[in-house]
């Protein structure tokens, strides 16, 4: 079949990058026992801030850095609302999503005097590593992505190490499973939660930056269009474990890439665009029987 070519693999990697970054970031919050539904809002903020600061400073790297900082600051503010003010995690996250939609539009007008969208003067470069071509078959596919794509792959070994091989990871897992017990062992539960949410913020910001600066070269209103929710679904389906989440996000990326590919074959685009969402629902349904045990089974956890 012609559609199952190597270039499909390559575009899977491209489409999956923001999903992987956001989902890997999201799992940090979940490891700390924070049900973080803000990924969508954080990604949107991340897209906008990275473009805004790139426009303002004229330097892509400064744009990325300041974008990540602002996005992380906003993530921590949400953290304050749920950790210290006791707000419902899902309700407040939806508020955060609306705040992101309104806030990005507002700032685009206020700071950049633009409506609808803003072009970035600079884009993330495609990196070509000659030695990668030496890898048989996949060499050409693995090559030629943005720095953030490679970074998204690095998150897997990095997060596995941090979560399972560092004292911080030990605290993180303890806080996520039994916060009172962690507190009794002298772990600063608030610090662990805030830091986990901040890491989610950094990752989602980079995910948004990949969309805006890596793929499109611009920011448009509500450009994340549910990708953050798909990333969230990956966190849930992957049971917030790094390897599983990574693979699920990659799979969702494949669904997206397949959609793009099939569109080129003259199939109705409206229906095709629903494919990733349908797949997410199916996957959630198949995983749900273990992740959410509810009233009907008679075993509800808190």
């Amino acid at each position: 079949m012609e559609i199952l070519t190597l270039s499909l693999v390559s575009s899977t990697l491209v489409v999956a990058t923001p999903l992987i970054l956001a989902a890997m970031g999201g799992l940090f919050s979940h490891q700390a026992g924070i049900f973080n539904f803000t990924l969508e809002g954080l990604m949107l903020f991340g897209s906008f801030f990275s473009v805004m600061f790139t426009v303002l400073t004229g330097n892509l790297w400064v744009g990325l850095l300041l974008g990540a900082l602002s996005c992380t600051a906003l993530a921590v503010i949400w953290g304050w609302v749920v950790v210290d003010l006791g707000a419902d995690q899902i309700i407040s996250a939806l508020g955060f999503m609306l705040l992101a939609q309104g806030g990005t539009v507002f700032l685009m007008i206020a700071v950049l005097s633009q409506t609808g969208g803003v072009f970035s003067p600079l884009q993330l470069d495609i990196i070509r590593l000659p030695w990668l071509n030496a890898v048989p078959v996949l060499g050409s596919v693995l090559n030629g992505h943005t720095l953030l794509t490679y970074l998204s792959w690095l998150t897997l070994p990095l997060f596995l190490f941090v979560i399972y091989r560092t004292p911080y990871g030990l605290s993180l897992r303890a806080v996520g499973e039994k916060p009172e017990a962690a507190a009794a062992a002298g772990i600063n539960v608030r610090f662990v939660r805030y830091s986990a949410i901040a890491i989610t913020g950094v990752c989602c910001s980079l995910a948004g930056a990949q969309l805006a600066l890596g793929l499109l070269g611009m920011f448009t209103d509500n450009m994340t269009a549910g990708r953050g929710i798909i990333a969230f679904a990956a966190v849930i389906f992957g049971r917030h474990r790094p390897l599983q989440v990574f693979l699920v996000a990659l799979f969702f990326g494949f669904a997206g890439a397949l959609t793009d590919r099939l569109q080129g074959f003259g199939l109705p685009s409206e229906l095709l665009l629903t494919l990733p969402y349908v797949m997410t629902v199916v996957v959630l349904a198949l995983s749900g029987w273990r992740t959410f045990t509810r009233a009907q089974s008679g075993h509800v956890k808190a």
């Binding site: 006791g86 707000a87 508020g95 206020a110 409206e270 969402y277 629902v281 509810r294």
Partner: protein
């Protein structure tokens, strides 16, 4: 994982009090969150050197200062009340219908199809269209409800995902079969039959009899929930599903029923918007009623009847936001920021506790 149950619990923090205090207790968090939202938007407005008071004055002027403004407020209140009711019905059962927009969208599709493809007596036509739209919404809501029932999949995420699917299916069907050939860039269906259009009763604007239907649906849903056996079982299931199961209530059926009822009300919104306002199906016709309904429900704080005043309040914001943009040149996105921050803070109960403690501290001195 504590999803539906926390939503329900966050909304049901009324303990051991009755009468006036109960009402006051119900209103505390919405008022506090609105105040926090106003502070945040005011700060942003000051940064861009606009006087916040001017903005709020323009908002009120635009919404209530003229016959046209009032008609606009009523026009928006109509769907917003229903959206709030739809979300609150879910809350009562401990469920969160985050995919309201999907049910609205399909309701709009089916409502308009009944409007232009079916021949019916004049008085009956809009009623059938709205009920048909409601049924479409209920069926769409049935999917996440059943996924929850049989697989335990979070209704929040599945219903939200199905929103995108509803858009895809509806747009596809309209493009393939019902597209208005005269429409160029914009995707819209052919017009509904004249007798299917909801009659308007206001001198200007788009205020249809649907306003009374909305209020009526809210009151009916409130009465059923408070007084009927099924309503009681839904409420108890929402308050503590494990208790309801243990006590022998038919929890699974009640959860599915409540979610479908929520979807039915959402579907009515779509149908009414299509046959009443646009008089056809227009792609992307929903300006975000899902979110708005969520906000209405949070402001009503778990009370179905409370969605009526909360819907009017949000109607004022919506009607007034046009005026802000028109006269002051301030983006109406400031209203989204206001709404977003209200939602962000509305369940932050420790904010209230801290403020209460602060007051107690000050009065002791």
């Amino acid at each position: 994982m504590s999803m539906g149950s926390t939503t329900g619990a966050a909304l049901a923090q009324r303990r051991g009090s009755t009468g006036f205090f109960r009402v006051w207790h119900t209103l505390q968090m919405p008022l506090l969150a609105t105040l926090a939202g106003l502070l945040l938007t005011s700060a942003l407005l000051l940064v861009i050197q606009v006087n916040p008071l001017d903005v709020y004055a323009a908002l009120l002027r635009g919404a209530l200062g003229s016959v046209f403004g009032i008609s606009s407020t009523l026009r928006w209140a109509t769907p917003l009340i229903l959206a709030g009711v739809a979300v609150t019905i879910g809350f009562k059962a401990g469920l969160f219908n985050a995919g309201l927009s999907g049910q609205i969208y399909l309701g709009g599709l089916v409502g308009s199809i009944i409007g232009f493809a079916v021949v019916l007596p004049a008085g009956l036509h809009p009623a059938v269209a709205i009920i048909g739209g409601g049924l479409a919404g209920a069926i769409w809501a049935l999917i996440p409800a059943l996924l929850l029932r049989y697989f335990g999949a979070s209704e929040i995420v599945t219903s939200l995902m199905l929103w995108y699917v509803a858009i895809g299916i509806s747009d596809f069907l309209v493009r393939q079969f019902f597209r208005d050939p005269t429409s160029a860039a914009f995707l819209m269906s052919v017009k509904v039959a004249p007798d299917a259009v909801l009659p308007s009763f206001f001198p200007v604007g788009n205020v249809s009899v649907m306003l009374f239907v909305s209020a009526g649906v809210a009151l009916l849903a409130w009465y059923l929930m408070a007084r009927s056996k099924i309503g009681y079982e839904v409420r108890m299931t929402g308050a503590n599903p494990r208790f309801a199961f243990y006590a022998g209530l038919p929890t699974a059926r009640r959860l599915v029923l409540a979610f479908c009822a929520s979807g039915f009300v959402a579907g009515m919104i779509g149908a009414a918007e299509s046959i009443g306002i646009n008089q056809r199906f227009v792609s992307q016709f929903d300006p975000g009623f899902g979110f708005d309904g969520f906000l209405v429900a949070l402001l009503a704080n778990g009370s179905i009847a409370g969605c009526i005043p909360a819907g009017f309040f949000l109607g004022i914001l919506k009607a007034g936001s046009m005026e802000i943009e028109r006269t002051l040149g301030v983006s109406k996105s400031i209203i989204w920021i206001l709404q977003g921050s209200i939602i962000l803070f509305v369940s932050a109960y420790r904010l209230r506790d801290r403020i209460n403690a602060l007051f107690a501290h000050l009065t002791r001195r």
